[in-house]
Symmetry: C2
Subunit: 237 residues, 2 copies
Protein backbone atom coordinates (compact mmCIF):
# COMPACT_ATOMS: atom_id res chain seq x y z
CA UNK A 1 0.00 0.00 0.00
CA UNK A 2 2.71 2.33 1.06
CA UNK A 3 4.83 1.75 -1.96
CA UNK A 4 1.78 2.01 -4.13
CA UNK A 5 0.86 5.53 -3.13
CA UNK A 6 4.48 6.52 -3.45
CA UNK A 7 4.49 5.18 -6.95
CA UNK A 8 1.46 7.18 -7.80
CA UNK A 9 2.92 10.40 -6.55
CA UNK A 10 6.10 9.71 -8.34
CA UNK A 11 4.30 9.55 -11.63
CA UNK A 12 2.29 12.61 -10.78
CA UNK A 13 5.22 14.83 -9.97
CA UNK A 14 7.41 13.42 -12.68
CA UNK A 15 5.16 14.61 -15.49
CA UNK A 16 5.71 18.30 -16.24
CA UNK A 17 2.91 20.53 -15.05
CA UNK A 18 2.43 21.89 -18.53
CA UNK A 19 1.01 18.58 -19.59
CA UNK A 20 -1.90 18.78 -17.27
CA UNK A 21 -4.45 19.73 -19.81
CA UNK A 22 -8.12 18.91 -19.52
CA UNK A 23 -7.91 15.29 -20.54
CA UNK A 24 -5.19 14.42 -18.20
CA UNK A 25 -6.77 16.32 -15.41
CA UNK A 26 -9.91 14.29 -15.81
CA UNK A 27 -7.88 11.16 -15.94
CA UNK A 28 -6.15 12.00 -12.69
CA UNK A 29 -9.45 12.89 -11.09
CA UNK A 30 -10.87 9.62 -12.23
CA UNK A 31 -7.87 7.81 -10.93
CA UNK A 32 -8.15 9.43 -7.55
CA UNK A 33 -11.86 8.80 -7.26
CA UNK A 34 -11.98 5.22 -8.38
CA UNK A 35 -8.67 3.52 -8.68
CA UNK A 36 -6.96 4.57 -5.53
CA UNK A 37 -9.63 3.72 -3.01
CA UNK A 38 -10.86 0.44 -4.42
CA UNK A 39 -9.74 0.10 -8.02
CA UNK A 40 -8.70 -3.12 -9.58
CA UNK A 41 -4.97 -2.64 -9.69
CA UNK A 42 -4.86 -1.53 -6.11
CA UNK A 43 -6.66 -4.57 -4.85
CA UNK A 44 -4.44 -6.87 -6.81
CA UNK A 45 -1.36 -5.28 -5.37
CA UNK A 46 -2.60 -5.60 -1.85
CA UNK A 47 -3.46 -9.18 -2.64
CA UNK A 48 0.05 -10.06 -3.66
CA UNK A 49 1.65 -8.16 -0.86
CA UNK A 50 -0.46 -10.20 1.47
CA UNK A 51 0.06 -13.44 -0.39
CA UNK A 52 3.80 -13.00 -0.20
CA UNK A 53 3.69 -12.23 3.50
CA UNK A 54 1.62 -15.31 4.18
CA UNK A 55 3.99 -17.43 2.16
CA UNK A 56 6.99 -15.91 3.89
CA UNK A 57 5.52 -16.63 7.27
CA UNK A 58 5.16 -20.22 6.31
CA UNK A 59 8.63 -20.58 4.90
CA UNK A 60 10.45 -18.59 7.58
CA UNK A 61 8.54 -20.55 10.16
CA UNK A 62 9.59 -23.90 8.89
CA UNK A 63 13.18 -23.22 7.84
CA UNK A 64 14.18 -20.11 9.72
CA UNK A 65 15.09 -16.83 8.15
CA UNK A 66 18.56 -17.73 6.94
CA UNK A 67 17.77 -21.10 5.47
CA UNK A 68 14.68 -19.79 3.73
CA UNK A 69 15.20 -19.08 0.05
CA UNK A 70 13.49 -16.28 -1.79
CA UNK A 71 12.59 -18.86 -4.38
CA UNK A 72 10.89 -20.93 -1.67
CA UNK A 73 8.75 -17.98 -0.74
CA UNK A 74 8.03 -17.23 -4.38
CA UNK A 75 6.98 -20.79 -5.03
CA UNK A 76 4.81 -20.86 -1.93
CA UNK A 77 3.15 -17.61 -2.98
CA UNK A 78 2.83 -18.84 -6.58
CA UNK A 79 4.66 -15.85 -7.88
CA UNK A 80 7.90 -15.33 -9.76
CA UNK A 81 11.04 -14.67 -7.78
CA UNK A 82 11.34 -11.21 -9.22
CA UNK A 83 7.80 -10.27 -8.29
CA UNK A 84 8.74 -10.30 -4.66
CA UNK A 85 11.02 -7.37 -5.30
CA UNK A 86 8.14 -5.32 -6.60
CA UNK A 87 6.65 -5.46 -3.14
CA UNK A 88 9.63 -5.62 -0.80
CA UNK A 89 13.06 -4.09 -0.85
CA UNK A 90 14.85 -7.26 0.11
CA UNK A 91 14.61 -10.42 2.10
CA UNK A 92 15.09 -8.77 5.44
CA UNK A 93 12.41 -6.24 4.61
CA UNK A 94 9.93 -9.09 4.34
CA UNK A 95 10.76 -10.20 7.84
CA UNK A 96 10.48 -6.72 9.27
CA UNK A 97 7.15 -6.10 7.61
CA UNK A 98 5.92 -9.38 8.98
CA UNK A 99 6.77 -8.32 12.50
CA UNK A 100 5.47 -4.82 12.27
CA UNK A 101 2.14 -5.87 10.92
CA UNK A 102 1.58 -8.90 13.09
CA UNK A 103 2.83 -7.65 16.42
CA UNK A 104 0.85 -4.49 15.94
CA UNK A 105 -2.31 -6.53 15.35
CA UNK A 106 -1.54 -8.66 18.34
CA UNK A 107 -1.08 -5.70 20.63
CA UNK A 108 -4.37 -4.23 19.50
CA UNK A 109 -6.17 -7.52 20.06
CA UNK A 110 -4.80 -8.11 23.49
CA UNK A 111 -5.39 -4.56 24.63
CA UNK A 112 -8.98 -4.80 23.49
CA UNK A 113 -9.48 -8.01 25.41
CA UNK A 114 -7.84 -6.57 28.50
CA UNK A 115 -9.98 -3.46 28.42
CA UNK A 116 -13.00 -5.64 29.21
CA UNK A 117 -11.47 -6.65 32.49
CA UNK A 118 -10.61 -4.91 35.74
CA UNK A 119 -9.08 -7.60 37.95
CA UNK A 120 -5.31 -7.85 37.38
CA UNK A 121 -5.41 -11.56 38.08
CA UNK A 122 -7.90 -12.10 35.28
CA UNK A 123 -5.89 -9.80 33.07
CA UNK A 124 -2.83 -11.92 33.50
CA UNK A 125 -4.81 -14.97 32.62
CA UNK A 126 -6.21 -13.30 29.54
CA UNK A 127 -2.77 -12.29 28.40
CA UNK A 128 -1.54 -15.84 28.77
CA UNK A 129 -4.52 -17.18 26.90
CA UNK A 130 -4.10 -14.76 24.02
CA UNK A 131 -0.45 -15.38 23.69
CA UNK A 132 -0.88 -19.10 23.61
CA UNK A 133 -3.81 -18.89 21.25
CA UNK A 134 -1.57 -17.13 18.82
CA UNK A 135 0.59 -20.20 18.79
CA UNK A 136 -2.32 -22.35 17.75
CA UNK A 137 -4.04 -20.06 15.34
CA UNK A 138 -0.97 -18.69 13.66
CA UNK A 139 1.44 -21.50 14.10
CA UNK A 140 3.77 -20.25 11.41
CA UNK A 141 3.93 -16.75 12.72
CA UNK A 142 4.62 -18.05 16.18
CA UNK A 143 7.52 -20.03 14.83
CA UNK A 144 8.93 -16.99 13.13
CA UNK A 145 8.63 -15.03 16.33
CA UNK A 146 10.27 -17.87 18.19
CA UNK A 147 13.18 -18.10 15.85
CA UNK A 148 13.81 -14.61 14.77
CA UNK A 149 13.31 -12.67 17.92
CA UNK A 150 16.43 -14.45 19.06
CA UNK A 151 18.54 -13.96 16.05
CA UNK A 152 21.26 -11.69 17.21
CA UNK A 153 22.30 -9.24 14.63
CA UNK A 154 22.65 -5.67 15.60
CA UNK A 155 20.03 -4.44 13.22
CA UNK A 156 17.51 -6.93 14.54
CA UNK A 157 18.36 -6.06 18.11
CA UNK A 158 17.54 -2.46 17.52
CA UNK A 159 14.29 -3.30 15.92
CA UNK A 160 13.37 -5.70 18.64
CA UNK A 161 14.03 -3.10 21.28
CA UNK A 162 11.44 -0.92 19.62
CA UNK A 163 8.46 -3.11 18.88
CA UNK A 164 8.75 -6.13 21.02
CA UNK A 165 9.10 -4.24 24.25
CA UNK A 166 5.70 -2.67 23.74
CA UNK A 167 4.21 -6.09 23.79
CA UNK A 168 6.01 -7.36 26.84
CA UNK A 169 5.38 -4.16 28.70
CA UNK A 170 1.72 -4.95 28.70
CA UNK A 171 2.59 -7.51 31.33
CA UNK A 172 4.49 -5.19 33.57
CA UNK A 173 1.60 -2.78 33.31
CA UNK A 174 -0.69 -5.44 34.68
CA UNK A 175 1.69 -6.29 37.49
CA UNK A 176 2.01 -2.66 38.36
CA UNK A 177 -1.71 -2.20 38.54
CA UNK A 178 -2.00 -5.27 40.72
CA UNK A 179 0.61 -3.94 43.09
CA UNK A 180 -1.05 -0.56 43.35
CA UNK A 181 -4.37 -2.10 44.20
CA UNK A 182 -2.71 -4.30 46.81
CA UNK A 183 -3.32 -7.63 45.15
CA UNK A 184 0.25 -8.49 44.20
CA UNK A 185 3.23 -8.58 46.50
CA UNK A 186 4.67 -5.08 46.40
CA UNK A 187 8.30 -6.08 46.80
CA UNK A 188 8.41 -7.91 43.47
CA UNK A 189 10.02 -6.09 40.59
CA UNK A 190 7.73 -5.83 37.59
CA UNK A 191 10.82 -5.70 35.41
CA UNK A 192 11.67 -9.22 36.43
CA UNK A 193 8.18 -10.59 36.59
CA UNK A 194 7.20 -9.48 33.14
CA UNK A 195 10.19 -11.25 31.73
CA UNK A 196 9.65 -14.38 33.73
CA UNK A 197 6.02 -14.52 32.76
CA UNK A 198 6.71 -13.93 29.12
CA UNK A 199 9.52 -16.44 29.24
CA UNK A 200 7.30 -19.09 30.70
CA UNK A 201 4.66 -18.55 28.06
CA UNK A 202 7.22 -18.44 25.36
CA UNK A 203 8.78 -21.64 26.45
CA UNK A 204 5.39 -23.26 26.36
CA UNK A 205 5.05 -22.12 22.78
CA UNK A 206 8.31 -23.75 21.99
CA UNK A 207 7.07 -26.94 23.54
CA UNK A 208 4.01 -26.75 21.37
CA UNK A 209 5.90 -26.07 18.23
CA UNK A 210 8.46 -28.77 18.67
CA UNK A 211 6.16 -31.54 19.80
CA UNK A 212 3.35 -32.52 17.57
CA UNK A 213 1.65 -34.61 20.22
CA UNK A 214 -0.14 -31.93 22.14
CA UNK A 215 -0.58 -33.53 25.48
CA UNK A 216 -2.23 -30.50 27.04
CA UNK A 217 -4.90 -28.15 25.76
CA UNK A 218 -4.25 -24.48 25.38
CA UNK A 219 -6.65 -23.59 28.15
CA UNK A 220 -5.09 -26.05 30.56
CA UNK A 221 -1.74 -24.55 29.86
CA UNK A 222 -2.79 -20.93 30.17
CA UNK A 223 -4.60 -21.90 33.31
CA UNK A 224 -1.70 -23.66 34.86
CA UNK A 225 0.89 -21.06 34.07
CA UNK A 226 -1.13 -18.08 35.15
CA UNK A 227 -2.21 -19.98 38.24
CA UNK A 228 1.38 -20.61 39.22
CA UNK A 229 2.21 -17.00 38.71
CA UNK A 230 -0.84 -15.74 40.47
CA UNK A 231 -0.16 -17.92 43.47
CA UNK A 232 3.44 -16.86 43.29
CA UNK A 233 2.98 -13.16 43.12
CA UNK A 234 -0.22 -12.61 45.02
CA UNK A 235 -0.34 -11.47 48.60
CA UNK A 236 -1.94 -13.96 50.96
CA UNK A 237 -5.63 -13.12 51.11
Amino acid sequence: MNSHSLFFFYYLTASPAIHIIRNEFLFILFFLLFLLPSGHTYVKKADKHQKILVAATKVFGSKGFFSARISDIAKEAKVADGTIYLYFHNKYDILLTLFEEEIAKLIVDIKAALAQEEDPRRKLYIFALHHLKLVIEKKELAEVLQMELRQSSDSVKEYRITKFVDYVNIISGIIHQGQKSGIFRPELKPGIIKRAFFGALDEMSRLWILNSDHAYTIDDTADEISSIFLNGISLPA
Copy 2:
Protein backbone atom coordinates in the same frame (compact mmCIF):
# COMPACT_ATOMS: atom_id res chain seq x y z
CA MET B 1 40.93 -35.79 20.91
CA ASN B 2 38.52 -38.04 19.24
CA SER B 3 39.84 -37.49 15.77
CA HIS B 4 43.33 -37.74 17.10
CA SER B 5 43.02 -41.25 18.43
CA LEU B 6 41.32 -42.25 15.22
CA PHE B 7 44.26 -40.89 13.36
CA PHE B 8 46.59 -42.95 15.40
CA PHE B 9 44.73 -46.15 14.82
CA TYR B 10 44.54 -45.40 11.17
CA TYR B 11 48.28 -45.28 10.90
CA LEU B 12 48.67 -48.34 13.03
CA THR B 13 46.39 -50.54 11.01
CA ALA B 14 47.48 -49.13 7.71
CA SER B 15 51.03 -50.39 8.06
CA PRO B 16 51.30 -54.10 7.17
CA ALA B 17 51.82 -56.37 10.16
CA ILE B 18 54.97 -57.77 8.61
CA HIS B 19 56.71 -54.49 9.24
CA ILE B 20 56.44 -54.73 12.96
CA ILE B 21 59.98 -55.74 13.65
CA ARG B 22 61.79 -54.96 16.85
CA ASN B 23 62.57 -51.32 16.08
CA GLU B 24 59.09 -50.42 15.14
CA PHE B 25 57.68 -52.31 18.01
CA LEU B 26 59.75 -50.26 20.37
CA PHE B 27 58.66 -47.15 18.58
CA ILE B 28 55.02 -47.98 19.00
CA LEU B 29 55.57 -48.83 22.63
CA PHE B 30 57.29 -45.53 23.09
CA PHE B 31 54.50 -43.75 21.33
CA LEU B 32 51.90 -45.39 23.48
CA LEU B 33 53.74 -44.71 26.70
CA PHE B 34 54.73 -41.13 26.16
CA LEU B 35 53.14 -39.43 23.20
CA LEU B 36 49.56 -40.45 23.49
CA PRO B 37 48.92 -39.58 27.11
CA SER B 38 50.78 -36.30 27.34
CA GLY B 39 53.11 -35.93 24.38
CA HIS B 40 53.79 -32.73 22.60
CA THR B 41 51.75 -33.18 19.48
CA TYR B 42 48.73 -34.28 21.41
CA VAL B 43 48.71 -31.29 23.66
CA LYS B 44 49.13 -28.88 20.80
CA LYS B 45 46.21 -30.40 18.96
CA ALA B 46 44.02 -30.20 21.99
CA ASP B 47 45.13 -26.62 22.37
CA LYS B 48 43.98 -25.58 18.96
CA HIS B 49 40.79 -27.57 19.13
CA GLN B 50 40.02 -25.69 22.29
CA LYS B 51 41.20 -22.35 20.99
CA ILE B 52 38.92 -22.66 18.01
CA LEU B 53 35.97 -23.61 20.15
CA VAL B 54 36.51 -20.64 22.40
CA ALA B 55 36.77 -18.35 19.43
CA ALA B 56 33.69 -19.87 17.85
CA THR B 57 31.72 -19.37 21.02
CA LYS B 58 32.63 -15.74 20.98
CA VAL B 59 31.80 -15.22 17.34
CA PHE B 60 28.60 -17.26 17.25
CA GLY B 61 27.53 -15.51 20.41
CA SER B 62 27.89 -12.07 18.99
CA LYS B 63 26.72 -12.58 15.42
CA GLY B 64 24.67 -15.74 15.45
CA PHE B 65 25.55 -18.90 13.63
CA PHE B 66 24.55 -17.84 10.15
CA SER B 67 26.10 -14.42 10.17
CA ALA B 68 29.32 -15.74 11.64
CA ARG B 69 32.06 -16.26 9.09
CA ILE B 70 34.62 -18.99 9.29
CA SER B 71 37.20 -16.31 8.71
CA ASP B 72 35.90 -14.45 11.76
CA ILE B 73 36.43 -17.50 13.89
CA ALA B 74 39.84 -18.09 12.37
CA LYS B 75 40.91 -14.54 13.06
CA GLU B 76 39.60 -14.69 16.61
CA ALA B 77 41.48 -17.94 17.19
CA LYS B 78 44.59 -16.55 15.50
CA VAL B 79 44.68 -19.40 13.07
CA ALA B 80 44.40 -19.72 9.31
CA ASP B 81 40.98 -20.40 7.83
CA GLY B 82 42.08 -23.76 6.56
CA THR B 83 43.35 -24.84 9.95
CA ILE B 84 39.84 -24.97 11.26
CA TYR B 85 39.13 -27.78 8.85
CA LEU B 86 41.88 -29.85 10.37
CA TYR B 87 39.89 -29.96 13.57
CA PHE B 88 36.28 -29.82 12.45
CA HIS B 89 34.39 -31.22 9.53
CA ASN B 90 32.52 -28.03 8.78
CA LYS B 91 30.92 -25.00 10.28
CA TYR B 92 27.97 -26.80 11.68
CA ASP B 93 30.22 -29.37 13.29
CA ILE B 94 31.78 -26.60 15.33
CA LEU B 95 28.41 -25.64 16.68
CA LEU B 96 27.49 -29.20 17.54
CA THR B 97 30.76 -29.84 19.31
CA LEU B 98 30.26 -26.67 21.28
CA PHE B 99 26.91 -27.88 22.51
CA GLU B 100 27.90 -31.41 23.26
CA GLU B 101 30.85 -30.40 25.31
CA GLU B 102 29.31 -27.50 27.14
CA ILE B 103 25.90 -28.85 27.91
CA ALA B 104 27.48 -32.06 29.12
CA LYS B 105 29.69 -30.10 31.49
CA LEU B 106 26.75 -28.09 32.66
CA ILE B 107 24.69 -31.15 33.43
CA VAL B 108 27.50 -32.67 35.43
CA ASP B 109 27.98 -29.46 37.39
CA ILE B 110 24.36 -29.00 38.23
CA LYS B 111 23.84 -32.61 39.16
CA ALA B 112 26.79 -32.43 41.50
CA ALA B 113 25.41 -29.33 43.16
CA LEU B 114 21.98 -30.89 43.47
CA ALA B 115 23.33 -34.05 45.04
CA GLN B 116 24.30 -32.00 48.08
CA GLU B 117 20.71 -31.13 48.70
CA GLU B 118 17.58 -32.99 49.71
CA ASP B 119 14.83 -30.40 49.85
CA PRO B 120 13.17 -30.01 46.42
CA ARG B 121 12.57 -26.34 47.08
CA ARG B 122 16.23 -25.73 47.64
CA LYS B 123 17.00 -27.84 44.59
CA LEU B 124 14.87 -25.66 42.41
CA TYR B 125 16.64 -22.62 43.73
CA ILE B 126 20.00 -24.18 43.07
CA PHE B 127 19.04 -25.02 39.55
CA ALA B 128 17.96 -21.46 38.92
CA LEU B 129 21.15 -20.12 40.40
CA HIS B 130 23.34 -22.37 38.31
CA HIS B 131 21.55 -21.63 35.14
CA LEU B 132 21.75 -17.91 35.65
CA LYS B 133 25.35 -18.09 36.72
CA LEU B 134 26.15 -19.67 33.42
CA VAL B 135 24.87 -16.53 31.77
CA ILE B 136 27.33 -14.42 33.71
CA GLU B 137 30.34 -16.65 33.66
CA LYS B 138 30.04 -17.83 30.10
CA LYS B 139 28.26 -14.99 28.51
CA GLU B 140 29.18 -16.01 25.00
CA LEU B 141 28.09 -19.58 25.43
CA ALA B 142 24.83 -18.43 26.87
CA GLU B 143 24.27 -16.29 23.82
CA VAL B 144 24.94 -19.20 21.55
CA LEU B 145 22.49 -21.31 23.49
CA GLN B 146 19.97 -18.53 23.32
CA MET B 147 20.27 -18.09 19.62
CA GLU B 148 20.88 -21.49 18.31
CA LEU B 149 18.56 -23.58 20.42
CA ARG B 150 15.86 -21.73 18.55
CA GLN B 151 17.20 -22.02 15.10
CA SER B 152 14.74 -24.21 13.37
CA SER B 153 16.39 -26.54 10.98
CA ASP B 154 15.44 -30.13 11.03
CA SER B 155 18.92 -31.34 11.85
CA VAL B 156 19.16 -29.02 14.82
CA LYS B 157 15.76 -30.04 16.04
CA GLU B 158 16.80 -33.63 16.15
CA TYR B 159 19.92 -32.80 17.99
CA ARG B 160 18.13 -30.63 20.44
CA ILE B 161 15.68 -33.37 21.23
CA THR B 162 18.61 -35.50 22.28
CA LYS B 163 20.83 -33.36 24.45
CA PHE B 164 18.81 -30.45 25.57
CA VAL B 165 15.99 -32.50 26.97
CA ASP B 166 18.38 -34.14 29.42
CA TYR B 167 19.08 -30.77 30.85
CA VAL B 168 15.53 -29.61 31.15
CA ASN B 169 14.42 -32.93 32.55
CA ILE B 170 16.47 -32.24 35.61
CA ILE B 171 13.74 -29.78 36.49
CA SER B 172 10.89 -32.17 36.06
CA GLY B 173 12.80 -34.65 38.18
CA ILE B 174 12.87 -32.13 40.98
CA ILE B 175 9.18 -31.35 40.62
CA HIS B 176 8.37 -35.01 40.64
CA GLN B 177 10.33 -35.60 43.80
CA GLY B 178 8.60 -32.66 45.43
CA GLN B 179 5.22 -34.03 44.52
CA LYS B 180 6.02 -37.47 45.86
CA SER B 181 7.13 -36.05 49.16
CA GLY B 182 3.98 -33.97 49.35
CA ILE B 183 5.63 -30.57 49.11
CA PHE B 184 4.37 -29.55 45.69
CA ARG B 185 0.79 -29.51 44.51
CA PRO B 186 0.18 -32.95 43.08
CA GLU B 187 -2.22 -31.84 40.36
CA LEU B 188 0.43 -29.84 38.51
CA LYS B 189 1.95 -31.46 35.48
CA PRO B 190 5.74 -31.65 35.67
CA GLY B 191 5.80 -31.58 31.89
CA ILE B 192 4.39 -28.08 31.94
CA ILE B 193 6.18 -26.82 34.99
CA LYS B 194 9.59 -27.76 33.81
CA ARG B 195 9.04 -25.83 30.64
CA ALA B 196 7.60 -22.84 32.39
CA PHE B 197 10.45 -22.76 34.83
CA PHE B 198 13.07 -23.13 32.20
CA GLY B 199 11.34 -20.56 30.07
CA ALA B 200 11.31 -18.05 32.86
CA LEU B 201 14.99 -18.53 33.53
CA ASP B 202 15.77 -18.44 29.89
CA GLU B 203 13.91 -15.24 29.38
CA MET B 204 15.87 -13.74 32.22
CA SER B 205 19.04 -14.69 30.43
CA ARG B 206 17.79 -12.91 27.38
CA LEU B 207 17.15 -9.83 29.45
CA TRP B 208 20.66 -10.02 30.76
CA ILE B 209 22.20 -10.48 27.40
CA LEU B 210 20.32 -7.72 25.66
CA ASN B 211 20.58 -5.10 28.37
CA SER B 212 23.97 -4.03 29.50
CA ASP B 213 22.70 -2.16 32.52
CA HIS B 214 22.22 -5.00 34.92
CA ALA B 215 19.64 -3.61 37.24
CA TYR B 216 19.36 -6.79 39.29
CA THR B 217 21.97 -9.13 40.66
CA ILE B 218 22.04 -12.75 39.69
CA ASP B 219 21.12 -13.85 43.21
CA ASP B 220 18.20 -11.49 43.38
CA THR B 221 16.92 -12.84 40.14
CA ALA B 222 17.36 -16.51 40.99
CA ASP B 223 15.76 -15.76 44.29
CA GLU B 224 12.80 -14.00 42.88
CA ILE B 225 12.07 -16.49 40.16
CA SER B 226 12.39 -19.55 42.27
CA SER B 227 10.40 -17.86 45.01
CA ILE B 228 7.55 -17.17 42.61
CA PHE B 229 7.59 -20.72 41.45
CA LEU B 230 7.90 -22.16 44.89
CA ASN B 231 4.96 -20.12 46.11
CA GLY B 232 3.12 -21.05 42.99
CA ILE B 233 3.61 -24.76 43.08
CA SER B 234 3.84 -25.50 46.77
CA LEU B 235 0.99 -26.83 48.78
CA PRO B 236 -0.17 -24.51 51.53
CA ALA B 237 1.77 -25.49 54.64
